[in-house]
């Protein structure tokens, strides 16, 4: 080996940080005004699971899936280096492990087959049309938890502190200019609010907390992408080698290994586990460890999954699929479940959406209607995007959710097309709506209706007060259901608290074909 392994290890850490920064940049770019110089979808396009799982579940091929081949085929050359060098969640876990956690437990290395079993289970689910691997796929997982939550939180923090400083009058002119700059390129003017954030946050917190047991617990035992790349890495030519003449069997390498990839004899390395992090080699006192490309072809080890594990995973997948299909959501409010404009038909949508939260994040910088679903659309629709119009509305001149969706679960419609797509239609709740309830003028909904020919029409009618016989003309709003596209600005701007006097229902919604 010509390289000094200590240098390469430092290089790896540098590469990790660079990829983490690139990841953060791709997230930051998912914003209005949308002028990305790196596609925000980059890491999701590179993700083999985000490409293959919708493909298996929907049997629909898209050329963009080919990008993922770069990562999918990489183990044929460099093993699981993606996990140790590139994966932003891996880097976050490494940082977290360095700063916060104590590694308390020794876990039997055989437990690493759990992730292979889970991968098997999610493949079975996908074959049965339930695409659920996003739950444990590191890239969409980190995207939705950091893209939506961490950055919104950060924004709130920055905005609040700036507001305090500006109020104090210290450099307020400069600070206000700085705030405007942030608004121009990064953040919306009003801080976005979300609902159902607990689950995505919890998943991330649990992943980081699990590192208290062992280093990179997630990567060893749970990560589906790690499992997939690990399977291929068994064929990797790149291999850690120990010079048995030099090795003193001191065991430092095994203790330093983040992935428990080194067997008890210190010679054999499990290639499906080794992430080429080089934690072992530079620490080896006699410098017995080198890395080498051997002729590939012979499998050094069998697939971890036992026959029992294989059977269990398959059965689990079958039972799980049944559970998802049988366990339907409360249908009482099903007419209020509005999908983003350009969403494909519902069953395909659920199977195509990888729950990365890109649409939710970019919407938070524009119309602010998209929210993460909890169980509104059932277990199958967990964490899918829903338009909730009391949080925001669909901006008439915005089509960014479709532009940014990495799997085209939301189709990339041109603005004129998107402006015609019916997300649903607005109806008046006449027992709530002010003109219908108390026979006084309001028309806030009509004022905001963005259609060139307003979908809310004004019907002036004489009203006779039954109490005193006084007459007055009242302007009653009425929805022209042929014109309404269900953008929800009426529901959003309705001055009533709680439920609006006008709501958007799913009736007449238009879905795209995949």
């Amino acid at each position: 080996m010509i390289f000094n392994l200590t240098t390469v290890r430092v290089l790896r850490q540098f590469v990790q940080v660079v990829f983490l920064l690139v990841f953060i940049i791709t997230i930051l770019q998912a914003t209005y005004p949308f002028k990305p110089w790196l596609p925000p979808e980059l890491f999701l396009w590179l993700d083999p699971l985000s490409a293959t799982m919708p493909l298996i579940a929907n049997r629909h091929f898209d050329l963009i899936f080919l990008v993922a081949l770069i990562v999918l085929l990489s183990p044929f050359v460099v093993g699981r280096a993606f996990c140790g060098w590139v994966c932003p969640l891996g880097t976050v876990i490494d940082l977290n492990d360095k700063i916060f956690t104590q590694h308390l437990k020794k876990i039997n290395p055989l437990w690493r087959s759990v992730k292979t079993g889970l991968l098997m289970l999610f493949v079975v689910l996908a074959l049965l049309g339930i695409q659920y691997s996003w739950l444990m796929d590191p890239l969409p997982l980190l995207w939705r938890s950091s893209g939506v939550i961490v950055l919104s939180f950060l924004f709130l923090l920055v905005d609040t502190s700036l507001a305090i400083l500006i109020k104090l009058g210290i450099f307020s002119e400069t600070l206000m200019n700085f705030q405007d700059r942030l608004n121009a390129y990064l953040f919306p003017v009003a801080s976005p609010v979300f609902t159902n954030l607990l689950l995505p946050v919890l998943i991330l917190v649990i992943i980081l907390a699990l590192s208290n047991l062992t280093r990179r617990f997630w990567c060893r035992h749970l990560c589906l992408l790690g499992a997939l790349l690990g399977l291929i890495a068994k064929l990797s030519p790149l291999q850690r080698r120990v010079d048995q003449n030099l090795c003193t069997k001191c065991g430092i390498c095994r203790r330093k290994c983040k992935m428990a990839a080194i067997e008890e004899d210190f010679y054999i390395t499990e290639k499906s586990e080794c992430i080429l992090c080089l934690s072992c080699a530079p620490q080896c006192p006699p410098a017995a460890i080198t890395y080498d490309w051997q002729s590939p072809g012979r499998m050094t080890s069998k697939i971890d999954l036992s026959r029992r594990g294989f059977l269990g995973a398959t059965l689990g997948g079958l039972i799980g699929a049944g559970f998802f299909k049988i366990n339907q959501p409360d249908s009482h409010h099903s007419d209020r479940l509005i999908r983003p404009p350009g969403a494909i038909t519902e069953n395909e949508f659920m199977a195509q959406c990888i729950r990365c939260g890109e649409c939710v994040r970019i919407c938070a910088t524009s119309g602010k209607c998209l929210q993460i679903a909890f169980l509104e659309t059932g277990w199958e629709g967990l964490l899918t995007p829903l338009a909730k119009f009391r949080y925001g509305y669909c901006e008439y001149n915005c089509n960014l959710c479709g532009q940014i969706c990495p799997t085209k679960a939301i189709q990339p419609l041109a603005l004129p097309e998107k402006q015609k797509v019916k997300m649903g239609k607005a109806i008046f709740l006449k027992e709530r709506c002010i003109p219908y309830r108390v026979n006084e003028n309001c028309l806030v909904c009509e004022e905001h209706c963005p259609l060139p020919d307003k979908a809310i029409k004004v019907i002036p009618q004489e009203y006779i007060d039954p109490l005193n016989g006084n007459k007055r003309i009242v302007l009653y709003p009425q929805v022209d259901e042929n014109l309404c596209i269900g953008c929800g600005i009426c529901e959003n701007k309705c001055p009533l608290n709680g439920e609006a006097g006008i709501i958007v229902i799913r009736e007449g919604e238009e879905r795209q074909l995949l």
Binding site: C442, C449, P450
Partner: protein
């Protein structure tokens, strides 16, 4: 003193007196309080209007902070006439600085997303060329303000700058509006308030008059260069836009709106908020009695 000396002294004294006298010592006309300018381009019309009103210095003094309140409320480009003409706004900015204003601030609490609206209406782009300070409106900048002698609103959230600046110039655009038939200066101040603004619509006349008790524009310039006739106030259809090439400006807020109504084709007396404002002594509503100085390009 010989003849040469006499002529020289006379010339010096005359010259000195003439140059030393303020320009207004030779008035062509006394300054008007209400002007209507027609058939010019937006910037030229507002320039002429200000000239007829006695010059911008009548309203803005040296070192003052001026708040301009154009309509930036909708994610629409200027030709849709949902937002104030950007060239008009820019000319007002230029003149304010010419009069020695320390700072010209532009704000609006928008209906559509703030960033989209500010970009589409192009007012920031034009106004910043002349040094205007264009700011987004933020939730923490509103102050719950008591409204003395109000009919309906005891208090409301009003933007802090309303109370910090020296002068307010209201720059509404004339357009159709479902609730009020048309929207002009009185309604335009809603861009300086926060809270649940939809509540203002009920009862509209009392509420909007109450807001205008605390938000008092020193000058109102009503943009009627392009006028949105239908599907207002958001618009979106060029067929609904009329090219009226008109501008009304004045110090009487009620009278400017009354004349706006008149040129739109609506009798001012049919607008309840104008009647109420007139009854409350905020200005004149009678367009037959109070006529503008008219200038036609």
């Amino acid at each position: 003193m010989n003849r040469r000396q006499f002529l020289k002294t006379t010339a010096i004294i005359t010259g000195g007196v003439l140059t030393g006298l303020p320009h207004s010592a030779f008035p062509s006309n006394p300054p008007a309080d209400l002007v209507l300018v027609k058939n010019g381009l937006p910037a030229a019309m507002v320039g002429k209007a200000l000239e007829l009103l006695g010059g911008i210095k009548r309203f803005v003094s040296k070192g003052e902070r001026v708040l301009l309140k154009p309509n930036l409320s909708w994610d629409r480009t200027p030709e849709y006439a949902a937002t104030t003409n950007p060239e008009l706004v820019a000319e007002v900015v230029r003149q304010c600085y010419q009069a020695g204003a320390a700072n010209v601030l532009i704000l609006d609490n928008t209906c559509n997303d703030a960033r989209r609206s500010y970009t589409s209406c192009r007012i920031p782009e034009y106004a910043e060329k002349y040094g205007a300070e264009v700011r987004f409106v933020r939730d923490n900048q509103f102050i719950e303000t008591p409204i003395p002698n109000s009919r309906q609103l005891k208090s409301w959230l009003i933007h802090q700058e309303v109370f910090k600046v020296d002068k307010i110039i209201n720059l509404p655009i004339l357009k159709q509006h479902g609730t009020t038939q048309i929207t002009m200066g009185f309604k335009n101040v809603m861009g300086l308030i926060g809270g649940n603004r939809g509540r203002i619509h009920r009862p509209f006349a009392e509420n909007i008059v109450d807001l205008n008790r605390v938000i008092v524009a020193n000058l109102t310039i009503l943009d009627a260069y392009r006028v949105l006739r239908r599907n207002g106030p958001s618009g979106g259809n060029l067929e609904d836009v009329d090219q009226l090439n008109t501008l009304i400006a004045g110090t009487d807020r009620v009278l400017v709106d009354a004349w706006g109504a008149k040129i739109f084709g609506i009798a001012p007396q049919t607008l309840p908020y104008l009647q109420l404002a007139n009854a409350e002594g905020m200005g004149e509503i009678n367009t037959d009695k109070f006529r503008p100085v008219v200038y036609d390009f």
